[in-house]
């Protein structure tokens, strides 16, 4: 059974829910501290995040740059809007592929769940078309990831 659920809601939202076996403080820190983000927010195997700026305060800048080590890469910029340690992060994100995608408004909450954490990530796009476009741009990365896994299985 999958630990993650991803659903669309209305025509502008995408909601991701995931449980972690660590307390909210640790999960929150892993979402805001650059040296921790660089260890896991990577996408397909083999990709790294050589640049990670995460100024975890309202108005603080976000800049993540990913590279496959072979000259391919893309980056994300954004701003933090609100932070409530260790329970809630609100930020704006936009991918550059290289053209910027419409602003993705993301609210991430971390709730105690037994000894672990229940994370709820709620994306809000400007309109249905923007959500469709966002889902479409992410596709190649998801596909590549799946193919890579398939390679390892064969």
């Amino acid at each position: 059974m999958s630990k993650l659920t991803l659903t669309t809601e209305g025509d502008r939202h995408v909601v991701v829910i995931r449980r972690f076996v660590a307390p909210p403080e640790a999960v929150y820190r892993a979402h805001t501290e650059p040296e921790l983000l660089q260890k896991w927010l990577l996408g397909p195997d083999g990709w790294t995040m050589p640049v990670c700026i995460s100024e975890a305060r309202p108005g603080g800048k976000i800049r993540f740059e990913w590279s496959d080590g072979k000259g391919r890469g893309f980056y994300q910029t954004g701003e933090y809007l609100a932070l409530e340690p260790f329970s809630r992060i609100v930020h704006i994100g936009r991918m550059h592929l290289p053209d910027p995608t419409p602003d993705n408004h993301v609210e991430t909450t971390f709730a105690p769940d037994g000894t672990g954490t229940l994370m709820t990530l709620r994306m809000t796009l400007p309109d249905a078309g923007a959500r469709a476009a966002m889902l479409a741009t992410g596709m190649e990365h998801g596909m590549e990831d799946s193919y890579a896994r398939l390679d390892r299985m064969s």
Binding site: S2, K3, L4, L6, T8, D11, V16, R18, F20, V21, A22, P23, A26, V27, R29, A30, L36, K39, W40, L41, L42, G43, P44, D45, D127, A128, G129, A132, A133, L135, A136, G138, M139, H141, G142, M143, D145, S146, R149
Partner: protein
Amino acid sequence: MANLDAAFAALADPTRRAILARLALGEATVMELVEPFEMTQPAISRHLKVLEGAGLIVKRVEGTKRPCRLAPTAVAEIDQWLGMLRRALETNYDRLDGVLAPMKPEK
């Protein structure tokens, strides 16, 4: 999956999404779609052509009429794509589990 780019591009237009919403209620001809959308018949026909090209709707021949309906496989492809996004996120969060493991407070 070849049609997915075309499907998302077609879905980026609000009129075309409204047409799909109408077709979700049942089959309709061009003339039946002209009235609720307050558009000209050629304009609706152009939208239908884009939707058909993207594989989102199919037309059937009935005498001189060409009733349109939703293509069930198009919806399935979008759902299939969501499955891939799900798996990509899972890879990241599985890695996060590994980052979190040594962060657990000492008991």
